[in-house]
């Protein structure tokens, strides 16, 4: 007798793309604000990023993303009470990985990028899969548009290739303003071909002056 299959799935994909790039003294994290299901749009104005001292942007199943964000928020508050300071980017990166792996056998359907400044003020980006495998990189994108975005970034960011030996520092030599321009171009292009990416782009920039947020309109179709 063939094995009985479930007739429903606990997961859904709400689409969207997110991405982060690290520079010498800044980090840019961006995500679109469209939330969809199937061929329908649920909202044009959702927020996929959340920030502490570093910023996490996620795409995938937004319910799991929200639950993951709430868990991290609670853990971050506990950390602040115990250590009297905010979590550093590398610390948050490890916590996120552990939180994801905790649900290894019923994962958060959440594809994350984490961006911030490391202890020396240099930009750092961490990229994750759904169960917490992570790596420090110079740039990364996740979500429905990532297949369109990544090759473009490999070409345009002029970061040293990750395949070089000895391993080079992966931060891009671009300046902050150039990197932000690149982000806008990248998302505008991704919105052209990826139906799940569009509406508005939220850009978060972290540098020595702090964290600031900007918005840019994208195609609404």
């Amino acid at each position: 007798m063939p094995k009985e299959q479930a007739n429903w799935s606990p997961y859904d994909n709400n689409g969207g793309s997110c991405f982060a790039v690290a520079g010498a003294d800044y980090c840019v994290i961006a995500a679109d604000t469209r939330m969809s299901t199937g061929y329908n749009i649920l909202t044009r104005d959702t927020q996929k990023s959340v920030n502490y001292k570093c910023v996490m942007a996620s795409s995938g199943f937004q319910a799991d993303v929200k639950a993951l964000q709430k868990h991290l928020a609670a853990r971050h508050l506990i950390y602040q009470h115990q250590h009297n300071k905010q979590m550093s980017c590398p610390a948050m990166a490890q916590l996120l990985s552990n939180t994801l792996y905790y649900k290894r056998f019923f994962p958060y359907y959440s594809f994350n990028v984490l961006g911030g400044l490391d202890n020396e003020g240099k930009g750092c980006v961490f990229t994750y899969d759904a169960v917490g495998s992570y790596e420090k990189v110079g740039y990364s994108s996740q979500g429905s548009g990532s297949t369109l975005i990544m090759p473009f970034l490999d070409n345009q960011l002029k970061s040293p290739s990750p395949l070089l030996l000895p391993a080079r520092d992966a931060v891009t030599p671009l300046a902050e303003a150039e990197a932000i321009d690149l982000v806008k171009t990248v998302f505008a292009s991704a919105s052209e071909r990826d139906i799940y990416t569009g509406d508005k782009l939220e850009i978060v920039v972290i540098n020595a002056d702090g964290i600031r947020r900007e918005y840019m309109d994208l195609r609404k179709d």
């Binding site: 709430k70 609670a74 508050l77 506990i78 009470h81």
Partner: protein, 279 residues
């Protein structure tokens, strides 16, 4: 005092209907260094005296942030206070996680009081030896509560606990009627002056006191030493130019409790006859 026969166990009543272990725990609160709290309609200020064991050591942390909208000042066994603060922080985080809104102060103090009561009714536990002044803001306004080791709690307009707190209470009793409409800065000034009363002659410096504020639009935070010293300087210079202050109005005698702003119960008196937690 012949209390010794019935004071071995917290679960042993005395013939007069008292639990001596609980009363001894409240005694520990009175031995701790002073902590005061006062509130207006929109802000609550906590203050405490920093006691260090010796010149070489740092002073005990007596004011804890519990959440953005709640803070606590303790007097007594500071280790017990630390543990209870951790419990309160946890409760706030769990409530926020479930309800996406801040834990109302009144709920937190009830949970704290119930936790304290458990320790008065288990033979293998002892009461917490710490009094907590819980200051917080929620939808129903600004609140200041006092939680006893006995498991009782009371709401106050202003209160002081710990050693030499009577001096601060007298000061607060004179002025509490003005607190409701006080500005935030006046409230802080009153807090510092109340602390000065407990020092009884010792010079008031920002290094021996800690002040914390919570208010509408202002998350709970401890004021930094520089700010506090500035405020001290403003009224120390003013006081030098004035005549000495007149004596306070006729004392309220043995009344140890400060006044209430709302229709809450009275604080216990320190008369020898009545049990302190008997209301």
């Amino acid at each position: 005092m012949f209390r010794n026969q019935y004071d071995t166990d917290v679960t042993t009543w005395s013939p007069a209907g008292r639990l001596f272990q609980v009363e001894y725990a409240m005694e520990a609160v009175k031995q701790g260094s002073a902590a005061i709290g006062l509130r207006s309609k929109t802000h609550v200020v906590l203050g405490c005296v920093n006691k260090a064991n010796s010149e070489l050591s740092s002073h005990q942390k007596k004011i804890f942030e519990v959440d953005d909208h709640i803070g606590v000042a303790i007097a007594g066994l500071t280790a017990d206070g630390r543990v209870l603060s951790r419990y309160m922080r946890n409760e706030c985080i769990n409530y926020s996680f479930t309800y996406e809104s801040p834990l109302p102060v009144g709920r937190l103090v009830v949970q704290l009081a119930d936790k304290a009561q458990v320790c008065t009714q288990r033979s293998w536990k002892r009461p917490y030896g710490v009094g907590l002044l819980v200051a917080g803001l929620d939808e129903s306004g600004a609140h200041l509560y006092y939680n006893c080791p006995s498991g009782n709690y009371f709401e106050y307009q202003a209160f002081a606990i710990g050693s030499r707190s009577q001096a601060a209470k007298t000061y607060l009793e004179r002025r509490f009627e003005n607190f409701t409409d006080s500005s935030r800065d006046d409230l802080v000034k009153d807090a510092i002056m109340a602390i000065r009363e407990t020092l009884q002659g010792e010079t008031l410096k920002s290094s021996i006191c800690t002040i914390a504020v919570v208010g509408a639009g202002e998350p709970f935070h401890v004021l930094d030493q520089g700010t506090v010293q500035q405020i001290i300087d403003t009224f120390e210079t003013a006081a030098e130019q004035e005549d000495p202050a007149t004596e306070p109005d006729a004392a309220t005698g043995q009344e140890a409790a400060a006044e209430q702003g709302t229709a809450a119960d009275h604080g216990g008196s320190t008369d020898e006859g009545a049990a302190p937690m008997d209301i």
